[in-house]
């Protein structure tokens, strides 16, 4: 791999992935600047989730460069190492630890050394406790902290997962369909929450919901068949004929 000079926090260049002959990603290039929030849209099968899999180490690309902070080659690292570097991921289907309480879910996520002996001896510090209390308040889960996460509503699970992301204190958040199954009011609150998070961290949001993307008011990247079709403001890409053709399709 040749060294690449880039200011981008996340640098994805010419990435291709195929599964059994199906090209999920096809020369995808994407650059996320520090402090940026980017929305990624695209029809089903456009490669949105595969892109996240590549960035978080779940899938190894066949070709291409993926750099974090201009120096860490993410294609050589495993999931745990990438998480440690500061990339947090929220999954499409909310995946919280259902048998654990809301509080314990956050404790698992909280930024700390992840070694076996560290966690065996870990005791909660006052600062950690305050931080988690704060996250509970932000995600409106304070009253539910002792409830097992499996008993939460769908929307609450989404929020808990965002809360877990916050507890990890990542530099970059990858958020996959955060408002799926949410009411309009919840969707608006989530947009607000993400904008709030974006003040201190970079965020990549994959979402189908156009109202939500509009509410975010950020730069949009449209994926199609594994590569970038268009990039720009939501209004600009909505006006793009190719985008209308493949995605909006009306």
């Amino acid at each position: 791999m040749n060294p690449v000079e880039t200011s981008a926090l996340l640098y994805v260049d010419g990435v291709s992935v195929s599964f059994d002959g199906f090209r999920a990603l096809n020369g995808l290039s994407l650059f996320i600047e520090p402090g940026e929030m980017r929305a990624i849209i695209g029809p089903n099968g456009a490669g949105k989730t595969t892109m996240m899999d590549v960035v978080t180490g779940k899938t190894k690309p066949d070709a291409g460069t993926v750099l974090f902070g201009g120096q860490h080659d993410l294609t050589r690292l495993d999931e745990a190492a990438i998480a440690e570097l500061g990339i947090g991921r929220k999954f499409q289907r909310p995946t919280v630890f259902e048998m654990h309480t809301v509080w314990d879910n956050l404790v698992l996520a909280v930024k700390q050394r992840r070694g076996v002996f560290t966690t065996l001896m870990a005791r909660m510090s006052g600062a950690e406790r305050d931080r988690l209390d704060e996250i509970l308040a932000v995600t409106r889960l304070t009253e539910l902290r002792h409830l097992s996460a499996g008993a939460l509503s769908h929307g609450q699970k989404q929020w808990l997962e965002i809360g877990m992301l916050l507890a990890q204190e990542p530099a970059l958040l990858l958020v996959d369909e955060p408002v799926a199954g949410m009411t309009d009011a919840e969707t608006e609150q989530t947009a607000e929450l993400l904008r709030d998070i974006n003040r201190t961290r970079s965020v990549v949001v994959v979402e189908h919901d156009m109202h939500f993307v509009r509410a975010l008011g950020v730069r949009v990247t449209v994926l199609h068949e594994g590569s970038v079709l268009a990039e720009g403001s939501l209004d600009a890409v909505s006006a793009n004929e190719r985008v209308v053709e493949v995605y909006l399709g009306r």
């Binding site: 654990h100 309480t101 698992l108 996520a109 076996v116 065996l120 902290r145």
Partner: protein, 387 residues
């Protein structure tokens, strides 16, 4: 410094843990006392054969707790935990063999009888050191621990999980059984190790030694329980359950799942080794039959019956199933295996959480509903609560 609540709420696990520890303490004192002091005519006298029988069950209970630690909390269904139990047993058996000295049938000062019988001229290197109790005691935990480490290192790093892992563990214990059956392995072949005389200078068949072994086994079981509780109530324990329920999610949070599994697997194997080591002097024999896959599967059934992920339940399950086994193999021995199979099916169908898990769910249910709807209840006894 450890906080004062370290030994209280967190480790004892509410009323089942408290009852369990109290029962163990009572048994450790009262059973040997009644056996040694009361005359056999007294209705409160515990006969020696019963002391040995219950002592055996206590060893099984420790094995069950070890298995529950990996299966109930981390989702690693080991069908080969009997192997670690038997390895611990063999380590102790080797010490006991070397204590026989010249009192064996052939009267050889160094070689155990079976080696003389096989015309061996000198002691194999791996029998060195076993004349020392401290060395054997280290091997009791080191050998099962090392095997678990090597096995786990390969299995967990290559992300072998679920049924595949269970099958490999089963193959592991089966392979060990075949190996130990061979005379040239140097572990006594199919006769195993037996005819023990002394442990630390005390006759193993003496009533006082048996009573002492019983009390020590109670203490070991209590210690195993407390260690397991300490592990599962720590933040490490939260990670274990997270791995059990959503392994890849845990990985995305930055935890190295393979290392967590490896650690808990090794601890569990060591605990099983201690159980085996306490078992051998009490029953007076260890042979390759202890590696039989059915033994490991029986241990899984104990845990399932008692309740996975409860620790106390696992120990309880070991007691209940073995009491049932003792009665049944006496009353109608040919039916036992069918009864065991039926028990497993019935528990899976009607009592999926096991005895203790079901009791716990019953107790929790009426309280949980209003609690969720109104204000948050006082903190449950998890690791990270409280100042």
């Amino acid at each position: 410094m450890l906080p004062p609540r370290f030994f209280t709420a967190r480790l004892i696990a509410g009323w089942p843990g408290l009852l369990f520890l109290l029962a163990l303490a009572a048994a450790a004192i009262l059973v040997p006392l009644s056996n040694l002091v009361l005359p056999p005519s007294s209705p409160w006298h515990v006969p020696t054969h019963l002391v040995v029988l219950i002592g055996k069950w206590l060893c099984y209970a420790l094995l069950a707790i070890a298995l529950d630690l990996v299966w109930g909390y981390c989702g690693i269904l080991s069908l080969g935990h009997g192997a670690f139990f038997a390895l611990g047993g063999y380590a102790m058996g080797m010490y006991l063999m070397r204590q026989i000295g010249t009192r064996g049938v052939y009267g050889h000062p160094v070689l155990p009888d079976f080696m003389v019988f096989l015309n061996w001229k000198e002691l194999p290197w791996y029998w060195y050191g076993f004349d020392q109790f401290w060395f054997a005691a280290i091997m009791v935990v080191a050998v099962p621990g090392a095997l678990a480490f090597v096995f786990g290192w390969f299995a967990f790093r290559s992300r072998v999980t679920g049924v595949y892992l269970s099958i490999i563990t089963q193959a592991l214990t089966f392979a060990l059984m075949l190996a130990f059956f061979r005379n040239d392995m140097g572990f006594g072949g199919n006769n195993g190790l037996t005819d023990f005389r002394e442990i630390l200078g005390f006759g193993v068949r003496e009533q006082g030694t048996r009573a002492a072994l019983f009390a020590i086994t109670c203490a070991a079981l209590a210690a195993g329980f407390l260690i397991a509780r300490w592990i599962v109530t720590s933040r490490f324990g939260l990670v274990l359950v997270a791995i059990r329920d959503a392994e890849s999610r845990t990985r995305f949070l930055g935890y190295r799942v393979d290392r967590y599994k490896l650690f808990v697997f090794v601890v569990s194997a060591m605990m099983a080794g201690v159980a085996g080591a306490l078992y051998v002097p009490q029953v007076g024999i260890i042979n390759p039959g202890e590696y039989a896959p059915t033994n490991s599967i029986e241990a899984v059934i104990w845990v399932a019956v008692g309740g996975r992920g409860t620790l106390v339940g696992a120990a309880l399950g070991a007691f209940v199933v073995n009491a049932f086994k003792t009665w049944m193999t006496g009353a109608m021995p040919e039916v036992w295996l069918f009864a065991l199979g039926a028990l497993f099916v019935l528990v899976t169908l009607f009592l999926p959480k096991g005895i203790l898990g079901t009791i716990r769910a019953r107790r929790r249910q009426p309280a949980a509903q209003p609690q969720a709807a109104t204000s948050p209840a006082p903190a449950p006894a998890t690791a990270e609560q409280g100042p």
